[in-house]
Subunit: 178 residues, 2 copies
């Protein structure tokens, strides 16, 4: 766990078509210490319910917010923090990670369908997790893991109803009594 404030902005969500991929983005963000996600595109209340159910069961804090105007989200964030857009067209993460200020809140932007030109312009950094066709979920995971210097994988969540007891073989889930 870490004190750094990181939020993920998912662009261009489409109901049904992106349902699973966006859920993967949300789960990766939560597991890797992001404080929350903002998504734009189509509003998807089913998706919101699904991630909120995960937070209720497995703990938080983790916020999900819909914002139609993603440009405003990026612009507002820049007033107090840094915006990193993950794209295969950007500069390799190996050359950029050190440039991200350590003391500022970070907004990590990931697209789904084609990303608008303005996102490239508004971002402080356009960062490639390798300049190859990639999964934005995989890219986000690597970016967060590296940003948090390997300490991003959270082990303690608040108000969890259940947690896993790690095992060499098989499954063990513990239900917390309140």
């Amino acid at each position: 766990m870490t004190e750094k404030e990181v939020c993920v902005l998912r662009l261009g969500h489409r109901i049904e078509r992106d349902e699973r991929a966006t859920m993967h983005v949300f789960l990766a963000a939560r597991a890797l210490s992001a404080s929350g996600v903002i998504y734009s595109g189509q509003r998807d209340t089913e998706l919101e319910k699904r991630i909120q159910k995960v937070v209720k069961r497995w703990g938080g804090p983790f916020e999900v917010k819909y914002e139609r105007d993603w440009k405003k989200v990026m612009q507002n964030w820049k007033e107090r923090g840094v915006v990193c857009h993950l794209t295969m067209y950007g500069i390799n993460i190996n050359e950029r990670l050190d440039k991200i200020p350590k003391d500022k809140p970070v907004l990590v932007v990931v697209g789904s369908q084609k990303v608008h030109k303005e996102a490239f312009q508004l971002a402080d950094y356009n960062i490639a997790i390798g300049n190859q066709p990639h999964s934005e979920i995989a890219a986000l995971a690597i970016f967060l893991d590296r940003l948090f210097e390997g300490k991003g994988l959270k082990t303690e969540f608040e108000k969890a109803e259940m947690r896993i007891a790690p095992r060499e073989r098989g499954k063990e889930v513990i239900f917390e009594s309140r």
Copy 2:
């Protein structure tokens, strides 16, 4: 790039329902220096064509193979290498990464739908990329990035028709003349 032999086994693929998620698994595996992927579940020739198209355009080598009998794949691999199954129920990667022999080929197993008990038994290591609900795509990406000690993000592919010229802003693709 690295010389270590790593292959990814994707379990339980379902046509349509898993099409995008499995494609993400394949893309992440390719971008992060796996030599190829094997998948089981339903055979999906459309999916195979899609990843082969990526390899033709962006370069290889990267092999895709379908195998109905995933148990045999795991058993055969164990004769010469190590099988790591990624699961939220396993032992945290921070405690396991050092135990994976550096000189042996690694088969990384990721599920989609519920994973059969026998996969947990056959694996040499059941490893959790955090013991939380997760994306198997994100888990695979972090595992490979760490296994290759941050050198897994490949920059050079063979026989590529196109490649990206990294830019601070915007997109630039270069078409290779042969």
